[in-house]
């Protein structure tokens, strides 16, 4: 393994995945440094979601290397153990446990033991309660702690899901289109929330909304047909003629 891989938090090299002959990822390489926030953009079918699937263990790559924290080989692990390593994932469509209360949603996500028997006899501690309180404040759902998640608005569900990610205490957050379906005000608040989170954790954001990406003001990677087309600041990639051609559709 090279020096670059060792110092990285997430290291993908030459990763390829194909489904029935369709190459969803084609020799994709990507390096995320510890503490970095990265935005990933690309047209539909560029491989953004498949990339997240590979990182979180849902899909096994056909070839290529996937390392976390420089040395942990993610290809050999399942979703649960990768989550326990400290990789959290937020889905495109907000996915919360609808028939649980906001509080229970966070309690389930809280970092800690995950085995069935430990959970049978688990008793909530004072420290856990404080932790949940703190997250409720961060995601501004303190008033709605007893609400069933099903009754939250779309934007509130998105925040709850982000709160669940925080409760997991991950080192790396993968966030899939956090601003999708939000109002402009909610979008701006979400950007602030993510920037706040990025102070302590690495974050990878997949997003379509250009205004939102501009709000984030971070390094951007452009994916196209399963590999990296361009990388740099938003201004840099927007000026790249290849990006203009495939992404902005000229």
């Amino acid at each position: 393994m090279n020096e670059k891989a060792k110092n990285s938090l997430l290291y993908l090299d030459g990763v390829s995945v194909s489904f029935d002959g369709f190459k969803a990822l084609n020799a994709l390489s990507l390096v995320i440094e510890p503490g970095e926030m990265r935005a990933i953009i690309g047209p539909n079918g560029a491989g953004k979601t498949t990339m997240m699937d590979v990182i979180t263990g849902k899909t096994k790559p056909d070839e290529g290397d996937v390392y976390f924290s420089g040395s942990v080989d993610l290809r050999r692990m399942d979703e649960a153990s990768i989550a326990s390593l400290g990789i959290g994932r937020k889905f495109q469509k907000p996915t919360v446990f609808e028939s649980h209360s906001v509080w229970d949603n966070l309690e389930l996500a809280l970092a800690g033991p995950r085995g069935p028997f430990a959970m049978l006899f688990h008793k909530r501690t004072r420290a856990e309660e404080e932790r949940i309180e703190a997250i409720l404040t961060t995601i501004r759902l303190g008033e709605k702690r007893d609400w069933l998640a099903a009754n939250l608005s779309h934007g509130q569900k998105q925040w709850l899901e982000i709160g669940m990610l925080l409760a997991q205490e991950p080192k790396l957050l993968l966030v899939d289109e956090p601003a999708a379906g939000m109002t402009d005000a909610e979008t701006a608040e979400t950007a602030i929330l993510l920037k706040e989170i990025a102070k302590t954790k690495s974050v990878v954001v997949v997003e379509h909304d250009m205004t939102f990406v501009r709000d984030l003001d971070v390094k951007v990677t452009v994916l196209h047909e399963g590999s990296v087309l361009s990388e740099g600041t938003l201004d840099h990639v927007s000026a790249d003629p290849r990006v203009v051609e495939v992404y902005l559709g000229r």
Partner: protein, 382 residues
Amino acid sequence: MLSGFLLRALDRRTWIVLLLLVAIGLAVPALNLFTDPSSPIHVPTYVVALLGKYLTYALLALSVDLIWGYCGILSLGHGAFFALGGYAMGMYLMRQIGARGVYANPTLPDFMVFLNWKELPWFWYGFDMFWFAALMVLVVPGLLAFVFGWFAFRSRVTGVYLSIITQAMTYALLLAFFRNDMGFGGNNGLTDFKDILGFNIQADTTRGALFLASALALALGFLVCRAVIASKFGKVLVAVRDAESRTRFIGYRVEGYKLVVFVLSAMMAGVAGALYVPQVGIINPGEFAPANSIEAVIWVAVGGRGTLIGPIVGAVLVNFAKTWFTTGMLAEYWLFVLGGLFVAVTLFLPKGVVGTFIGRKGANRPGNGIPAAPAAQPQPAE
């Protein structure tokens, strides 16, 4: 630790159900034994046996609700675990007959003598002892559920596919137990029981005791289910039901949870079967019939999926209707009624009888401990 686990489950509603079950368990045999047969409050012996049978069905329904209502595992083969528990008890009862059988062989049950067998097969060893049989009532269904679940859940078989292979499992067992070479009495199954724990199985007092035992087993089953659901484990189960992949991505190994709850549920079904057999006096391969398992699912749907009380109510209601129908002139139409009932409940009472009632009362109290189970699906597509 264990007592704390059970104590946590004791909310008011649970207390009411437990006390009610114990009261019924005592009252019905008492009204049979201590009242004059001519008295209007006298409960005839056949009714005691019939109600006892309903209670064991209720326990089976409860076990189905635990996995279907709370974890989204729709087993259409739970009758197999019920029947296996029943066979374990039946084997004990066969060995109790001893030399009083038709062929008067002190060790071999009649059907083995009839088949010209000279020795007891190895898997019949130990069943002359009640404690061993009682253990097997839990171990055999539990082990089958463990092996089955281990492969099914690890391979992430879910939804309709899982339901279909559970049907296949119970059907395979049905065919296997029909064979005489299996050593379980083939087509005829096990019957002609005489004693249980030394008491005459036909005696009114024994029937009363079996009824009480069924009521207590149901109460215990209910308490265990409540405790499981009230724990964080139960919250994870509901999370799996609602959003399985989300549960994986926050770090829970879903297959482990499914396996634990599936084995627990199978053991409960086994106990139900073991209490059923002495009360009806026979166990045969017909108990493995896929239709039986489907009926159990209908009880749960009618009573209210994901409520724990619902399946008890549903099992008793549907079986009461069944008894009423199949003893009258309408016997031939029972299956149409049952099918119609399932369709009607799915369309008009998607939360079942109990679910609709409780749902209305607690609708404005989010997070009141009873998760709103998604409506019973017309297709088993959870």
